[in-house]
Amino acid sequence: MTAVDFSTTFSNAWFPTPVFTASGCASSGKELAQFFPLKDIGAVVTKSIMNKARLGRATPRMAETPSGMLNSIGLQGPGIDTFIEKDIPWLVEQKARIIVSIAGETIEEYSTLARKLRSVSGISAIEVNISCPNVENRGLVFACDPEASKKVIDGVRRTIGGELPIIAKLSPDVTDIVSIARGVVDAGADGIALINTVLGMVINLSTMRPHLGGKTGGLSGPAIRPIAIRAIYQVHAAIPNIPILGMGGVASGRDAFEMILAGASAVSVGTASFGNPMAIPHIQEELKTLLEEKGFKQIKDAIGYAHRIEEAHE
């Protein structure tokens, strides 16, 4: 019953709504499906999948912080083969739009993952996670190195470029996010996901040592939202024609709207689902109402609206 056209696109992928799950915050979808039909949201972005099964990091893996939390999971997962065999068909059955997030330890692993996904039907796009902070060697965070970022995306593009949109997920822990974004776009990324978690640490006052098993963790939640808004704004200003999947602390419709105004074509909701399993459908409804109230006829008109130079809106 809404006049707003809520649909959004990333290259050739179409989504009925601009609110998605965030990678690593919805497992593979089954758990949230207990609370709402997955086909009702824009897309399910799966947890980042690697080539082999992975147990992840030691516990404690979590620390709540003011308006946020640190996590140190370390990409626990079943490996791509089991994932393709079990998780994808289930999501397809749910009629969910699927964005598969992939993560690798080497540039070659990303290409391998892309190749394995090439023949799988029912996938809307690939999110290339080159920015997970929970790896043993910070040198492995490809997104902190412009050259490594480009090489990963180039490898994925050679494998599936033109078939599935490639969305490169970047880290905010860099000096110049715009140059990293330009690099991955030049290498063939069709979209950019901003932002991954921010590297952080909590020290336990009982043990007087780092609290997390992995010592450092990724900060998420409303605490990092202004960082995400800033990164999205900067990248959209520099490369306005590349769609951005925005994420980082979105917990309400107003947060999602803010991100879209900054330049996001869609938003992923992660940590908010931990606090409220119904967060995504709620955010979606609130966003729709806000867009209506502000007089937007289609979401496309609101994307990057904060960048306008003159008052063109009637």
């Binding site: 915050c25 947890k47 082999k52 992840g56 409220n276």
Partner: protein
């Protein structure tokens, strides 16, 4: 891997009772027909701090028991220790306050099909869900004996009415301020043979659960323990509350204590690896 408790639902519910029992708060929540879905061992995840709170994560509490009352309908009882900011907020909620909860979550204690001898072991307020469990076990004809332990008397949770369902109740405190001085795990080995215990149910700190698993390792007794690991979501999506568990093929899985637990077979949990970096054995 298992799946989320099929009965889990989110609802806004009213607190209908909040009283101090020793060092703990006994909180009674009106949840209607949801009580029919709650089994001993299940837990509830509660939103804390109100809408503008900086606490963004739910807090998980074991459901200590459920009941049908004439004045409030279906009620869920929680025994809460006001330790952290979240539990302190919950304990400060007055009767009539409305809270947002998700329940029932997690696995439940398995009930024997035969009327066997069982031993219930609780540490601190971990004893809370054991009283509801004792009622169910007794109604199935099981003979129920119970051991409760804590560091000191004030941390023992043992309501008068709870004692009705058990054949015997022994209390252990490390400082000797109540019951027998010593650890609750001290008599277990002897009791297993004396009483011919078939199943041990335990709930309490990780160290206690690990110690019971060590005691039962070479004995023909099943050990069902309710684990406690810090969790962000309670519904299986955050992957923080994992425990290393040995699979049948000897490989290791990091299982979510919110979905594959909290009740787990103690003999499968690799207690020595908790908090350590596991390696893929597949």
């Amino acid at each position: 891997m298992s799946t989320i408790n099929r009965n889990a639902a989110q609802l806004r519910a009213t607190i209908v009772g909040n009283k101090l029992v020793g060092q703990y708060h006994q909180i009674l929540i009106s949840v209607g027909d949801l009580v029919d879905k709650c089994k001993p061992g299940n837990f509830v995840a509660i939103s804390v701090g109100g809408d503008s709170s900086k606490m963004i994560l739910r807090r998980a509490f074991a459901i200590s028991r459920v009941a049908q009352s004439t004045s409030f309908g279906g009620t869920m009882e929680l025994i809460v220790a006001p330790h952290g900011q979240g539990s302190k907020w919950l304990c400060a909620q007055p009767e009539g306050a409305v809270i947002d909860l998700v329940a029932p979550l997690g696995s439940a204690f398995g009930i024997p099909t035969e009327p066997v001898q069982v031993l219930l072991v609780g540490g601190g307020y971990g004893s809370a869900p054991l009283f509801g469990l004792a009622e169910v076990l007794k109604s199935r004809g099981c003979k129920v004996d119970m051991l409760l332990g804590a560091s000191t008397a004030g941390k023992i949770y043992a309501p008068m009415e709870g004692k009705r369902s058990v054949n015997s109740l022994r209390i252990y405190t490390e400082d000797g301020s109540m019951g027998i001085a010593g650890k609750v795990t001290d008599p277990i080995s002897q009791l297993i043979s004396d009483l011919d215990v078939a199943v041990i149910y335990s709930c309490g700190p990780m160290g206690m659960l690990a110690a019971i698993s060590a005691i039962t390792a070479d004995k023909d007794v099943v050990h069902q323990c309710a684990v406690e690991e810090s969790m962000a979501c309670g519904i299986g999506i955050c992957m923080t509350c994992v425990l290393p568990v040995r699979n049948e093929d000897n490989s290791i899985s990091m299982l979510r204590s919110c979905i594959d637990g909290p009740v787990m077979d103690g003999s499968n949990v690799l207690w020595d690896l908790v908090g350590k970096n596991p390696t893929v054995t597949q």
